[in-house]
């Protein structure tokens, strides 16, 4: 009896382990199978580099360059704002903050991470968008800028948490050594600790890139969702929002083209994954030295 149970449970645990691989396979296969037909029909060059997306027009055009560029610009903008803020916060929390402050701000950061993206979208839509409209005298504040600001806030927690882990792991003797040689606090932490934690901080940034490029709901609520080429103060559409916005009513080639957009997004995410692995592997090597 015991032996049978043992076998059964071993099989069960193996199955659980294999489910993960199966999920990845299913996702990849489904995306490729449902994404390729439209790309083949439209033509890969026309699809990837076409500058007009008019899926519901009489003579439909399926060019997703505006989405790709918007996603890249939007992510880049979010990184530009989010990384410095996250970086300085992380250094402060890891190296200088007293225990109590560390605990409180740590809680703040984890709370920021767990606020649902629709709540960010809602506040963005009703506070940030009107604010941008007023400040820059626009007809409509729903723009790439609004999306960038919301994304920058949303990626803060990933950047801060990963960077803190990396900074905490820097051997204390490096810092002690620097301080003993007469270096000031800033010289110690920014010239010694930060370079030592470089790969971990980079990993945080790459993780933030992944979060930003994959976010859909919050962006959909603040970016305006018109398929324009990216303009900072113009209404734009990201790769994610292009899919989400039309999915509920699309059919035929239009629907297939949406799956193709998802496939492109998936390729981006896989590239970011590879970059993350590279960064982490590089970090392990330098630590071994």
């Amino acid at each position: 009896m015991g032996k049978v149970m043992d076998r059964v449970m071993r099989g069960f645990f193996l199955l659980c382990g294999l489910v993960t691989i199966a999920c990845v396979l299913v996702i990849t296969i489904y995306l490729i199978l449902s994404g390729l037909p439209a790309i083949a029909e439209i033509g890969p060059v026309k699809f990837l580099f076409g500058t007009t997306w008019a899926s519901t027009a009489q003579d439909p055009k399926y060019g997703i360059l505006p989405f790709i560029l918007t996603s890249i610009y939007g992510t880049f903008g979010a990184i530009l704002i989010g990384v410095p803020v996250g970086f300085f916060t992380a250094v402060y929390l890891s190296k200088l903050a007293p225990e109590g402050v560390k605990k409180v701000v740590g809680f703040v950061v984890s709370l920021l991470a767990s606020i649902p993206s629709v709540v960010y979208g809602l506040v963005g839509m009703l506070f940030l968008v009107p604010l941008i409209r007023k400040v820059f005298h626009l007809a409509d504040g729903a723009s790439l800028l609004a999306a960038i600001i919301v994304l920058a806030i949303m990626i803060l927690p990933s950047i801060i948490n990963v960077s803190i882990t990396a900074l905490d792991a820097v051997p204390k003797k490096y810092e002690m050594g620097a301080l003993a040689l007469g270096a000031t606090e800033y010289e110690t932490y920014f010239r010694v600790s930060v370079p030592a934690a470089k790969s971990g901080i980079m990993a945080g940034v790459v993780l933030g890139v992944g979060r930003a490029i994959g976010e859909a709901m919050a962006v959909m609520m603040v970016a305006g969702n018109v398929a324009n080429m990216p303009k900072l103060f113009g209404s734009v559409c990201f790769l994610t929002t292009a899919v989400a916005k039309e999915m509920s009513y699309a059919s035929g080639l239009q629907k297939q083209a949406l799956f193709s957009i998802a496939l492109v997004l998936f390729v981006f995410i896989m590239l970011i994954n590879l970059a993350l692995r590279k960064v982490m592997a590089g970090g392990e090597k330098t630590n071994e030295k």
Partner: protein, 291 residues
């Protein structure tokens, strides 16, 4: 008299320090503002009637009871499926697996899963669960999609705490002639309870906040069924909006901002509870393990 080098160093130190204070302050201010803004806009719309009634086009009433019920159902179904699957995978990796390459492969798969954006989960969930498995747009299809999404989370937390199980305990049990399953059941699983609970809480947080993956898999109906067993089973098989999806629909499609903010208040409250819960579990087990 300070030399110019010293003064330069002093100024630099001051600049970097203020940058750090500024950024940390900004991070906290963002959260305080977000919470404050949502509370100010949303609390006035909260009432007992609001959370215990269902929307009706006839009376123009807006209530979110169906959305609350849907959220609870999605949460329960997801966790029930997720728990054995995620813990099982973690146990396999740390207790059973002998094949190094298979372990690497499963690890890599989990890493990929954790990086995939929720909108892609939503699309593939729609293709696979709703269409291929013929579950239609239903809470069940939505829950299963969320299971796949949260697998890496619970695997990671469980594995982390499995690592801290003392080797001596395991070896002692094996030495006494216990079979592998018995060791897992009596030693390994009880010892990694903290990781399992933390994983569940973190997953619950993500499930409560998720919207993009549910939009196409669970849909956005506001129907309320009876609370009998058959009613609940029927609800699981039919489409329904969770709180987050309802917020999106009310804000973006219907322009009912007051309702959206009131739902946001509830979501924030849940987020705070989830975080406090995770902290409490961490604290409790840290104390226990020290003793």
């Amino acid at each position: 008299m300070k030399s110019s080098v010293e003064r330069q160093r002093f100024v630099k130190q001051l600049l970097w320090r203020s940058a750090m204070y500024l950024c940390t302050g900004l991070t906290c201010l963002i959260l305080i503002f977000l919470i404050g803004y949502v509370l100010v806009q949303g609390v006035k719309g909260l009432s007992l009637h609001f959370i215990t009634s269902k929307p009706s086009y006839l009376t123009g009433n807006i209530g979110i009871l169906p959305d609350i019920v849907n959220t609870v159902l999605v949460l329960l179904v997801s966790i029930i499926v997720l728990l054995p699957l995620g813990v099982g995978a973690a146990v396999y990796l740390s207790e059973y697996a002998r094949n190094y390459r298979l372990v690497k492969l499963i690890d890599y798969a989990a890493e990929i899963l954790s990086g995939i954006p929720s909108i892609i989960y939503g699309l593939v969930g729609m293709l696979f669960f709703c269409q291929f498995l013929k579950l239609q747009t239903s809470l069940l299809a939505g829950s299963l999609t969320l299971v796949v999404m949260n697998l890496p989370t619970i695997m990671r937390t469980t594995r982390e705490s499995l690592l801290s199980v003392q080797k001596g305990l395991r070896e002692g049990a094996y030495g006494l002639g216990a079979s592998k399953w018995r060791v897992v059941r009596t030693i390994v699983l009880p010892e990694c309870m903290d990781g399992i609970i933390t994983g569940c809480i973190l997953s619950a947080g993500r499930i409560l906040g998720e919207s993009a993956a549910l939009l196409f898999t669970a849909g956005f109906a506001h129907t309320l069924r009876s609370f009998s067993l058959s009613g609940i089973l029927g609800a699981i098989r039919s489409s329904g909006a969770t709180l987050t999806v309802a917020l999106y629909v009310y804000a973006k499609e219907q322009g009912e901002f007051q309702v959206a903010f009131s739902i946001a208040v509830i979501l924030l409250l849940l987020a705070v509870l989830v975080n406090l819960g995770a902290e409490a579990v961490k604290g409790y087990y840290m104390k226990k393990k020290k003793v």
